[in-house]
Each structure stands twice: as C-alpha cells, then as structure tokens.
C-alpha cells in the first residue's frame, strides 16, 4: 500500500525533524522538553506567530514557576 508507506515515511520524517529541532533547542538552551516542543511546532504549523508564541510561553513558564 503505497499511500500507507508514504504516510509512514512522512511520520518518520516529521519525527526526525522534531528530534533534530529538540536537539537544536537543547543546544540553544531553550529549556524545552520534547512534548512542549511538539506542541509548539504544531501550533506554528497552524499559523501561530512564532515570536508571539515564544512570548506567551515565557510568560506561562514564569507564571507556572511562580
């Protein structure tokens, strides 16, 4: 089933992309875990402005920590 295989590949590629992005975020010391990052990526892919998201997240983080 080629379409299934393609989906699988896509999923794998997405997985790989997330892995890499997670590593980059670690290198840049972003204090993001994999789940958070995945959520953020989904949101950005849904058209959320990355800068706005970052701001919101910083605030959330700050508030959560409080």
């Amino acid at each position: 089933m080629p379409p299934a295989a393609t989906d699988n590949e896509k999923q794998q590629a997405a997985q790989q992309a997330v892995d890499i992005l997670h590593e980059i975020s670690t290198i840049l010391n972003c204090h993001l875990d994999r789940r958070t990052l995945s959520i953020c990526i989904s949101m950005i892919e849904n058209g959320v402005n990355p800068e706005a998201l970052a701001e919101a997240q910083k605030i959330d983080f700050a508030k959560g920590a409080r």
Binding site: S25, I27, L32, N49, P50, E51, Q57
Partner: protein
C-alpha cells in the same frame, strides 16, 4: 471554528506542559493561563518570520560558539542544521525563529552533555567512567606518590590519566552524539580510540604484585634492616626488563648495578648476588649497544654499523619477548628459574658482548677514523674464529661484510670510473688540487692519503690491496685522458662477485681457513673483476696504439747503439769535427740533422740532439784530447708520446743517456786507435819505438774491444731480452714502469756507471784517454821525424841541386800511411803543443804502458773487490768483466815479463 478549537486544545496542552498546571488540579489558574496565552497568540504586533534573518542569526551563533572555543557545540549545531535542511518543511524557519527567541544565553549555558540526555532510553545513560572518578571512589586520588614511584607505568597509565582529565569534554563527546551525517565535519582524535576498562580486580592484582617495590626494609629483632624477599618470578621479570633496557627496581639503569635491598626467598645472598651479577654484566654490555644505537651518526659508514647494531638488538629483544611470553601467557607448565633463563640467553648474549667490546674499543680510541670499527670488527672476527666460537664468528663475519659493503662503495666508484666522491675524507685516495700535466697524471694527480704518523689512511686489513685499487682507478683516469674509456657495461650490469660472508665462508676450505684468508679471497676476487678490465685495456692501448714496442726499439737503436753502422755514422761525424778542431762542433741543428740522417729507420722527427752548456764552452782542442769533455755533453733526446712517458720515466731515460755516453766514449777510443792503418806486411824489422807503439796499441785495442763486447753481449743484450719478456708478462702500468726502470737501473749498474763504481768508471775513462794520448804521441813523433827528414833533404838538396823535387809537406814512413782527413796543416801546432816535449817518444810510450798496466790492474782489483763486497745483482757481471780483463794482465806477465818498458 475547527481552527479555534484545535488551537485551543493545543494551547491547553501547552499550558499544561509548561506551567505544570492541569484543569483538574487548579482549573481556575489553568483557565487564566490558557486565556492569557490565547490572547497573546492571537493579538500580537509581531511581523512574519524573515527566514534569511533566522539563517543569519544561527550562523552568527555558530560563529560565536567557535570564537569562544566551543567547537563541540558549534559542530553539533551545524550538524543539526544541515540535517534539518534535508527534511523539507515550510515552517522550519518559523520553528527555528521560535527556538531562537526562547534561547537562553546558549554560549554561556549550553552543555553538550544535555544532548546526551536526549538519547533514547535503550542507550547507556550512565556517565562515562573516568580515572578521576575511579580515583575519587577508591580514595587514591590524593595519593600522588603511588604514580610517581611505579616506574614501569611512567609512559602509559599516567599519560592516559592526564589526557583524559585535561581533554575538553566537548571534543570527546561530540563524536558520540554524531549522526550518520554524510558530511564528515568533525575530526577524529587519538582519544576517540581509547577503550576504558573497568577491570578493577585486575588492577588490584597488579597493585599487589608490584607492592614489593615500595616496601620498606623489615627490621630484625635487633633492629638491623633485613632484605626484602622477592619471588623468583619477580626476579626473572626484573632481569628481563633490565636486559631490554627498561627501568627495573633490582638494577640501576646505566650501570646495571644490583640493588642490595632485595633477595630471593629461597637462596643465599651470595648465590643470588653472583647469579644476578652475571645478568648485570650482560646488561652493562647491552646498555653500551643501546646507547650507541641512539647516537646520531652522519657518516654512512657509521650509519651502517649502527643499523647492524640496531637490527641485532631488535632480534635479541624479540627473543627476550618470546622468553617473557612463556611466563606471562602460560600455555604449558613452565619452571621459573633464573639459571634456566641465563642459560637460554647466553648463546644470544655471546655475539652481542663481542659487539659491545668493539664499541668500547671505538669509544676508547682518540679521534678514531670512521673505519676504525671495521678494523676492530675484523680483529674480533679473527679472534672468534681462532677461539673456535662458531656462533660469534659467523655473527661477526656477517656484520663485517655488511658494513664493508658500504666501505667498498667509493672503492667501486674509483675502480670503475676513476672518480672520487667530493669531500670524502674517509677514502684513502685523494686528488691533488692542481691539474697535473698529462704525463704526470699517473704519478702526481692522485695520492694515497696518509695519516700524520705516515700510515695509510685505510683499514689495516686493506693495506695489501690498496696499491691495486689505486692503480686501477688511475688506469681508468689515463684511459679517459686517452679518450679510450668506454663504459661498455654500466656499474649495474657489471658482474661482480658478491661480498657476502656466507658466500665467502662457503668458498673457504672448511673451518680451518682463517677469516683474513676468506676475506682476502673474497675481496681479491671482487677486485680482480674490476682491475683486470681496466689494466688490460690500458696495457693494450700502450702496446698497440702508442707503440711501446717500437718506442723501445727506437731507444735501443739510438741510445744503446744496437745498429753499429748507424751509430758509427753519427759518432764519426762528431769525431771528425773534433779532429778538424771545428769550434762549431756542438751546433745542435747540425748534430740533429746528422742524427736524423744516421738513424733513418726510427721516427726521426722525434730525435733532437743538443750539447749541454758547460761542454759547449770547452775549447775544441781540449775536447779533442779527452773523452771526458764534450762527449758527455752530447744529449740525445727522443720525444715520447705522453702515455709512454708514464712507463718510461725521465729517470730511466737519464740512465739510457749515461749508457749512450759511455758507448760513444768507447767508440771514440776505438776510432782513435783504428784510424791509423797498419802497413807492416813485408817490413823486415821495426824500430824499438815502433814495437812499443804497436804493443801498446794492440793492448788498448784489446781493452776497448773487451769492454765493448762486455757491454753489448753481457749487459745490454741479455737485459734487453729479459726486459721484453718481463714487459709481456707485466699486468699493469706500474708493473711496466717498474720493469723498465729496473732494467735501466741494472744496465747502468752493470756498465759500472753507478755511483759506487765511480772510481772504476773514472779508471775506464783514463784508459780510453790513453788511446788519444798514444795517437797524439805517435803523431808528434811522425811530425818530428818528418821535420828531420825535411832538414836532411834540404841539406841534401843543397848539396845536389839536381835531385828531383818531392811532394812537400808530408813525411811517410814506409809502414805508415797518414789519414788524409787529418788536420789541416795550420792547426797541427795546436795539437802538438800539449805533447810533453821534454820526453822522448820511447819514454812517453813506456809511461803510457805503465799507466795502462796500473789502470787495468786497479780496475780488475776494484771490480773483484766490489763484486765480493756487494750484494748487488750486477756483482757477477763485474766479476766476469774483471776476469776478462785479468786475462790481459796474465798474458802480459807471461809474454813480456822480462821486458820492462823503460
């Protein structure tokens, strides 16, 4: 609407993940956070992401990492970015932008180790084991002494410890995190290959086994220090370490002196010490070899020796390793015994110890020549052979030939091409700085290098062969000058016997052949292959192209007067000039012309005649009166081609000239005696004076012909025949030259012209002078008689005017006829003025007879005496000459005993 719902769900998740607040635990707070977040996301004033700016920012970040020496991070980042670029996604720049916004001072705070933590759980998450950690755990991290004192670990564990401790973690671990990226951007370091083991038990064992080294000496009950006991295995290990030139506790490194602190647990101290000291002795010798092998050598000859030493040491080390392996990697039961080890090592040590003896000799020599070790090696090999130590003998012999092959290189170059290496001070042939004349090239262009004390600058064992080597090279040089040296076969193609010990040894007749003989044979064969071609070519060139035979033939004609008729033509021309009192007798052009006419069969263009200065200046009537003036000055020169001059030296040409002078003097005497023709047939009786005259004349003639026949048949002819034979057999140019100069020297000696026989030579010349005196006296007497006759004739004619006129000017005795070519009338007075006018003719004749007797006796006696006293080869010839002359004296006694001259 679906979008809003989806975003809402995501926001919830985000808040839950980030703020760790769930709707269940704190719904109010959760809602507040969610709302505020949603608001922030929806209502903002940010621009869209500029993907180029993002790329720039990331590049800038990477660069910053590198600038701040965080290459590991930079590499990791670059790797990820590159990998990400492979996965096409429209939102990648946005996501990266988001990450950049969230980054929190990555340059200062990021840690590569964090990446490690991201790995999947199945990977080993345990932090890498480090020596530092082990040290901390075991509590010896503070104990530096542990490391310092264990010598054997100097260059291994310590190094690792330091390496790992100081290496930047970043670079070590950057590899572990690497992805299978196509682009290999990171470097591999030696430390990447380290395998860290965790064999703690093994480590403990090592520590325990080595602990004896650091024990302090136990004290006896009385407080005296006692020796630390060690096991035989430990001793064996120490011994093997020491022999391999490594540090050991039992021996100090340099002198291999035994440490008195230790003792085997089951032997007496004396037994232990003597056993270990025999190892120590071997260690000292090996240390010499090892330190020699480490020295820097510039001279190839030394380098090859050093290489030989290194190779032998390596073999020995391999043997030691194998021996050690028996104890370390035990495959079968092994008895640990120092004595056994010693016995096993001994046969290998023996050759090496003779080696170290050589190096010791080399070190002791003051300013040794580079080849000095070859001499030592040669001697040591000889000694080993004489001692019957087959093993050492073969070992040293092989090394000797190995090293000698390098020494032979300049010899080969010299013998094959006649060239010397520029600036080579080790070779025993040197070139003079000035360019010699062609004919001098053989003698003076090259020299054997001598040391300050006069010995040849070559290994002693080569001395017998040096001349041959020298000659061969010179032959090549001369051939090159002749334009005849063709490298028919290049050095590579030349078949030369190999200089191998095994080959040479195989050629020897069993074990009894001495090494020097084996060497001489091998080297002789090697040399013969080079020597033969060069010398035979040169010899051939001299004989065939430069006509050595014809030159010798010419010399025999010119100087040795082998053709009497030709020599007579030349000599008579000179003599008649004397007798004519021609003051220009010495004109060299005339003389040369006469010589060229006389010696028509030789290459006349080469002949030139001259008269040396002092003889030119003598008055001609003086010259006429004696053979000592004028004639010795007549110098014949024969221009030789330059290659022939190598063989026929100037010195031997002088000898030829001396013989020529003697022969021409003899010829002059004969000439004086013979130009007066006898006419005594039918004369009934002669006057007393006439009898005297004829007797003396015949004796002088006998003397001259005896001398002549002695010189020609006993001296010149046999020697010349011998010369021809010897020249045919001579092998090289030096032989040819030697044969010829011996020939010339012998000829001069046998002709009594040597310096020792000078009185006899002078006596001989006195006798030859007598012939001139006799002729002059006779001539004076005939003049006087003629005058008397004239006076009586005039008185007669005064009495009788009718007498018929006679031919004027000449008086002829019936038995005598004057030579028409004799002097012109006007010069006779010059001749006669020297004749002693006070003495009568008879008196003069008597005096001359007495002189002759005295001189001949003196000559005989002298020759006999010299022949007896001398060991010269010519002595027998002198004896023969004396015998020939004594015959005359004896006859004289028998026949004329009753008739004194007076």
């Amino acid at each position: 609407m679906a979008y809003a719902a989806h975003l809402g769900a995501l926001t919830e998740e985000l808040v839950e993940a980030v703020a760790s607040v769930s709707p269940q635990s704190n719904s109010k707070r959760f809602d507040v956070l969610k709302e505020s977040t949603l608001r922030k996301i929806r209502h903002h004033s940010f621009l869209r992401t500029n993907q180029f700016q993002v790329t720039n920012e990331l590049d800038g970040l990477e660069e910053r990492f590198r600038v701040l020496n965080r290459d590991g991070l930079a590499d990791a980042l670059r790797e990820r970015l590159d990998a990400l670029a492979q996965l096409p996604n429209n939102f990648t720049p946005d996501i990266l932008h988001f990450i950049l916004k969230l980054s929190d001072q990555p340059v200062q705070n990021s840690k590569l180790r964090d990446l490690e933590l991201l790995k999947t759980p199945d990977e080993d998450l345990e932090s890498p084991l480090k020596w530092a950690d082990i040290a901390k755990e075991d509590g010896w991290d503070q104990d530096r002494g542990l490391w310092e004192n264990v010598d054997f670990a100097d260059d291994s564990s310590d190094g690792e410890y330091v390496d790992i401790d100081t290496k930047s973690d970043a670079s070590v671990e950057s590899q572990d995190t690497s992805l299978s990226s196509v682009e290999a951007r990171h470097r591999r370091l030696p430390t990447d290959y380290l395998t860290l083991t965790h064999d703690r038990a093994g480590f403990k064992t090592v520590e325990e086994t080595q602990s004896w080294r650091h024990q302090s000496s136990p004290k006896s009950a009385t407080g005296e220090p006692q020796k630390i006991t060690i096991t035989e295995l430990q001793a064996v290990r120490e011994v093997l370490f020491m022999l391999r030139g490594l540090d050991s506790t039992l021996f100090n490194k340099k002198q291999a002196v035994l440490s008195p602190k230790y003792q085997l647990n089951h032997t007496s101290w004396e037994g232990y010490r003597s056993l270990l000291e025999s190892f120590g002795e071997a260690g000292r010798q090996l240390y010499l070899l090892r330190s020699f092998a480490k020295q820097l050598q510039n001279i190839p000859l030394m380098q090859v020796f050093q290489h030989a030493v290194e190779t032998r040491l390596l073999l020995f080390d391999t043997f030691l390793s194998n021996l050690e392996a028996q104890f370390v990697d035990i495959k079968q039961d092994v008895a640990v015994s120092l004595v056994k080890v010693l016995n096993e090592i001994k046969p290998h040590l023996q050759p090496l110890s003779s080696f170290s003896g050589i190096i010791q000799g080399l070190n002791q020599a003051k300013y040794p020549h580079p080849f000095h070790y070859l001499e030592l090696l040669f001697n040591a090999t000889n000694i080993a052979h004489m001692e019957g130590d087959e093993n050492t003998y073969k070992f040293l012999g092989t090394v000797f030939f190995e090293c000698f092959r390098v020494y032979v290189r300049p010899i080969r170059l010299w013998m094959e091409t006649g060239e010397l290496l520029e600036g080579d001070k080790t070779f025993f042939i040197s070139k003079s700085s000035t360019q010699a004349r062609m004919s001098q090239v053989w003698k003076h262009q090259f020299k054997l290098r001598k040391t300050t004390n006069g010995t040849l600058h070559a290994p002693r064992f080569l001395h017998p062969a040096t001349n041959k080597i020298f000659t061969t090279g010179k032959s090549i040089v001369v051939l090159k000058h002749m334009g005849r040296h063709v490298m028919t076969n290049g050095p590579a193609q030349t078949q030369e016997p190999p200089l191998e010990f095994d080959e040479a040894y195989a050629c020897g007749e069993g074990a009894l052949t001495t090494f020097s003989e084996i060497f001489n044979t091998a080297f002789g064969n090697w040399m013969q292959s080079k020597h033969h071609a060069a010398s035979s070519t040169l010899r051939q060139a001299l004989f065939e192209s430069y006509g050595l035979w014809s030159v010798l033939n010419d010399l025999e004609h010119i100087y040795l007067m082998c053709n009497g008729a030709q020599s007579d033509t030349f000599a008579s021309a000179i003599f008649s000039n004397f007798d004519l009192l021609n003051s220009r007798w010495h004109d060299r052009f005339t003389l040369t012309e006469v010589a060229r006419e006389a010696y028509a069969n030789v290459d006349t263009n080469r002949i030139a005649v001259s008269v040396s200065g002092e003889h030119c200046q003598s008055e001609v009537h003086e010259v006429r009166k004696t053979v000592r003036k004028g004639l010795p000055g007549v110098t014949l020169s024969y221009r030789l081609p330059w290659p022939i001059q190598i063989v026929l030296s100037d010195e031997s040409l002088d000898h030829y000239q001396a013989i020529f002078t003697l022969l021409i003097q003899l010829r002059r005497a004969c000439y004086m005696l013979q130009r007066h023709h006898l006419k005594i047939d039918g004369v009934a009786e002669m006057s007393y004076e006439q009898t005297r005259f004829y007797r003396l004349r015949s004796r002088l003639l006998w003397f001259c012909s005896s001398l002549q026949s002695y010189l020609t048949t006993l001296v010149i002819e046999p020697l010349t025949a011998e010369l021809h034979g010897d020249l045919r057999q001579a092998e090289d140019i030096d032989d040819l030259a030697a044969v010829h100069s011996t020939y010339a020297k012998r000829m001069v000696d046998e002709a009594c012209l040597g310096s020792k026989l000078d009185p006899i030579h002078q006596c001989m010349l006195d006798i030859l002078d007598l012939t001139i005196r006799l002729e002059d006296a006779r001539h004076a007497e005939s003049e006087r008689a003629q005058e008397m006759q004239e006076i009586s004739r005039l008185s007669m004619s005064a009495a009788s005017m009718t007498a018929s006129p006679r031919r004027p000017g000449r008086y002829m005795q019936p038995s005598e006829e004057e030579d028409e070519t004799f002097l012109a009338e006007q010069d006779r007075s010059v001749l006669l003025q020297d004749v002693d006018v006070d003495k009568t003719y008879a008196e003069l004749l008597a005096e001359m007879g007495a002189d002759f007797d005295r001189l001949v006796k003196f000559m005989c006696g002298g020759l006999r005496g010299v022949a007896r006293a001398s060991s010269n080869a010519a002595a027998t010839k002198w004896d023969t000459l004396a015998e020939m002359l004594e015959v005359g004296i004896q006859e004289e006694r028998q026949v004329f005993s009753g008739q004194p001259y007076v």
